[in-house]
């Protein structure tokens, strides 16, 4: 097939663990019923919120850093082909090998092939969203390769045969006692006297993984940043499991989304200030490793990088949505999100939960994939995520944009318009004219009849039943403001009418 340069082609969406299998309200309903989960999440998110605010307020130039971070990422997106080629040239020149993967399946096959080439059947892994997204562990297992997660929270999730629920702390939904129980159940070498102190649990993880680190020949990692002008990769971590994986094995395979690029070294000073404070609420994370291809005598001799599209190019094609690709996976948006705090990450189905997940997942898969169209509605649009985002992704605006994509994608495709469609059409008619709204308001006092003597409405039919499930509606007043004003100041239909006398508060209005 020949290429049609400059001709926009149809977006190619991503596959893998990016889908909500059931609609968000349904999943949320179930998760909300789990009191332990709510307590765990409430505790953890409140802890991290306070810490983040503390360390962010320390920096006098936080907003300037956010502005720089946002502009750098905008630059990267605008210049992505050029930067990818530059990165590739530099990484390759320094002994690294680049592989390109269109989607999850292709990436999995590449990684498995690379591991097979080494003759190994075991790999150690550093926490990586990209490999979570493509479902690498499951694929490797099918291929007879055991992948050991080494990040504490990932280890907990893996031992418990659970799914991650947070991008930074995948086991955020578990408390210390639950984690102790998982260790006792699933770690053959765990001390039966294990307590639930986090320090003791961390030591148990150290003991459990030590041998794996020291003997592993192959490691699989993600990357937080990739510098185009040098071919350098960076992993930001806390426990030292990253350093173990990036330093000790002979072969290192990194899987990274194409959007993780930064133009150059100078940009790192921005992101290394934004990321740790936003994610763990620390001035700096304990360890950051940077490597550029292969260094003789230091670290792995075989260094691979799998560059992953998997729907990123489709997200990039959405002019309103493309800034979702600026995300540096700090998790601040979910930590401050009132919806996430109550439902937890599993309700979002995808690898990416919370506010960023609610936009990123449907952007990567297309709004029509499975139940992903329900994700952009999983927000009250309170805006806390936008305020917290270190790269200033306007998540509320993108949520609204994706809602309209959803509504538009369904226009004319359904035999019967939904209750919401009908209501919105009717409301558009009534609310696009003062006269018509006035007429509707004249009918409102009927609501007082419906409300009965206690002047409240406690049960409504249809979608409005969602409202009356936990709230009453006040009975409408006997007269609208519009009609009061007309009586006091003249006919509203005359256009702009000056007041004739000083309005007095409460003079009218009570029947």
């Amino acid at each position: 097939m020949s290429t049609f340069l400059g001709m926009p082609s149809l977006p190619v969406f991503g596959s893998g663990n990016l889908h909500a299998a059931e609609s968000f309200p349904k999943a949320a309903h179930r998760e909300l019923g789990n009191a332990q989960l709510r307590a765990n999440l409430g505790h953890a998110t409140h802890t991290i919120r306070d810490k983040r605010l503390q360390v962010v307020s320390e920096l006098p130039d936080w907003e300037q850093l956010r502005d720089a971070g946002s502009a750098i990422k905008e630059n990267v997106m605008a210049r992505l082909p050029e930067l990818l080629e530059q990165f590739e040239a530099n990484f390759t020149a320094r002994g690294g090998v680049i592989h390109w993967a269109r989607d999850a399946d292709e990436a999995n096959a590449i990684v498995a092939g690379l591991i097979r080439d080494t003759g190994e059947t075991e790999v150690v892994k550093v926490k990586s969203m990209a490999t979570q997204e493509i479902g690498l562990n499951e694929y490797l297992e099918e291929q007879g390769i055991a992948a050991f997660e080494t990040d504490l929270a990932e280890l907990i999730v893996q031992l418990d045969h659970d799914k991650p629920s947070h991008i930074l702390v995948p086991a955020i939904h578990k408390n210390r006692t639950q984690i102790r129980d998982i260790f006792l159940r699933e770690m053959p070498d765990a001390d039966p006297e294990l307590t639930d102190s986090p320090a003791v649990l961390a030591m148990a993880a150290r003991a459990h993984l030590r041998r794996k680190f020291l003997t592993a020949k192959v490691a699989v990692s993600g990357a937080n940043f990739a510098l185009a002008d040098s071919g350098t990769l960076a992993v930001v971590e806390s426990e030292g499991n990253g350093r173990m994986c990036l330093t000790l094995p002979e072969t290192l395979i990194t899987v990274m989304g194409v959007e993780k690029l930064l133009p150059g070294w100078r940009d790192l000073e921005v992101f290394m200030q934004l990321l740790p404070r936003s994610s763990t609420g620390e001035r700096m994370n304990p360890y950051t490793s940077l490597w550029t291809g292969v260094t003789e005598g230091d670290g792995p001799r075989n260094v691979h990088l799998v560059l992953l599209d998997n729907g990123r190019s489709a997200a990039l094609a959405d002019e309103m949505g493309r800034s979702a690709l600026h995300c540096i996976r700090c998790s601040a948006c979910m930590n401050v999100c009132p919806v996430y705090e109550r439902t937890g990450g599993h309700a979002y189905g995808s690898t990416y939960p919370g506010p960023i997940g609610a936009i990123l997942s449907p952007l990567l898969t297309g709004i029509e994939a499975e139940e992903n169209s329900s994700l952009p509605y999983a927000s009250s649009l309170c805006g806390a995520c936008y305020d917290a985002c270190p790269v200033k992704i306007n998540i509320p605006d993108i949520l609204v944009h994706l809602r309209s994509k959803d509504v538009d994608s369904k226009r004319g495709t359904k035999k019967l318009p939904s209750q919401m469609d009908v209501g919105m059409k009717a409301a558009s008619w009534a609310l696009s004219s003062g006269k018509r709204l006035g007429l509707v308001e004249k009918g409102l006092p009927l609501g007082r009849l419906a409300a009965g003597p206690d002047k409240k409405i406690s049960k409504l039919p249809g979608i409005a039943a969602g409202w009356t499930q936990s709230r009453d509606i006040p009975a409408p007043p006997p007269e609208s403001f519009r009609s009061w004003w007309a009586r006091e100041h003249g006919n509203p239909n005359d256009g702009v009418v000056p007041p004739q006398e000083t309005a007095t508060q409460g003079k009218e209005g009570q029947a």
């Binding site: 977006p11 905008e74 210390r176 806390s238 994370n285 490793s289």
Partner: protein, 219 residues
């Protein structure tokens, strides 16, 4: 079409609206105005907050401090390029003051031509290294694999890291520090001993990396 061409083609197509690459406003701080005393104070404060142990000593007292910190270590490793003088006071069970390159009963030297094996490193209690640069504001020490810092594995596997920071190598803020570094070298940025916040988002120190970090600031 190769995956590479395909992906680059998709991306070019996605950008067919030719979005602008805006100028990057760099209004954030790139310099700090602290004098050496203030830099030391700030770095100490930050490191202590991470639960690292810190001592500030005159350059002449570094050897004594190193010896003190190594007192309980049955064995320790040093990179071949470490300043031999820093180990002058360590009782290695042989005559003291020998060149770092020589090695002793307690002391193992990791050299380019003769690197220690991983299992061997795992049996060593401590490591002594220099550092490339430090960041006072964030309590960060950067190792760049120079001969006095060694390859990355030696400062990772032993459980106790003794790291010497020259006061003149302390930068105030991260942009200042990164400008002193060659980004192509294998770099490790260290801010305290290994730690995790993975259980209830409460930070606890000591996981896979060295659980004990001693920083000696030499002035």
């Amino acid at each position: 079409m190769s995956a590479r061409e395909d992906i680059l083609g998709r991306i070019r197509s996605a950008l067919s609206d030719a979005p602008a690459a805006p100028p990057v406003p760099r209004e954030y701080r790139t310099t700090s105005e602290l004098d050496e005393e203030a830099l030391i104070l700030l770095l100490v404060d930050r490191l202590v907050d991470y639960k690292a142990q810190v001592s500030v000593v005159p350059a002449a007292e570094v050897p004594a401090r190193v010896a003190e910190l190594l007192a309980e270590a049955r064995s320790y490793v040093v990179p071949a390029g470490l300043d031999a003088g820093w180990l002058a006071a360590v009782d290695d069970g042989t005559s003291t003051g020998r060149a770092a390159g020589a090695g002793t009963e307690r002391r193992r030297v990791d050299a380019a031509g003769a690197p220690l094996g991983v299992a061997e490193l795992d049996g060593i209690d401590a490591v002594v290294t220099a550092s490339a640069v430090a960041v006072a504001e964030t309590g960060t020490i950067i190792l760049d694999g120079s001969p006095n810092q060694g390859r990355r594995a030696i400062s990772l596997v032993p459980d106790h890291h003794i790291c010497i920071v020259a006061a003149t190598d302390i930068a105030g803020i991260l942009p200042e520090a990164l400008r002193r570094i060659d980004g192509i070298r294998p770099l490790t940025m260290i801010s305290g001993p290994s730690a995790t916040s993975d259980i209830e988002l409460e930070r606890v120190e000591g996981v896979h990396g060295p659980r004990r970090l001693d920083v000696i600031i030499s002035r």
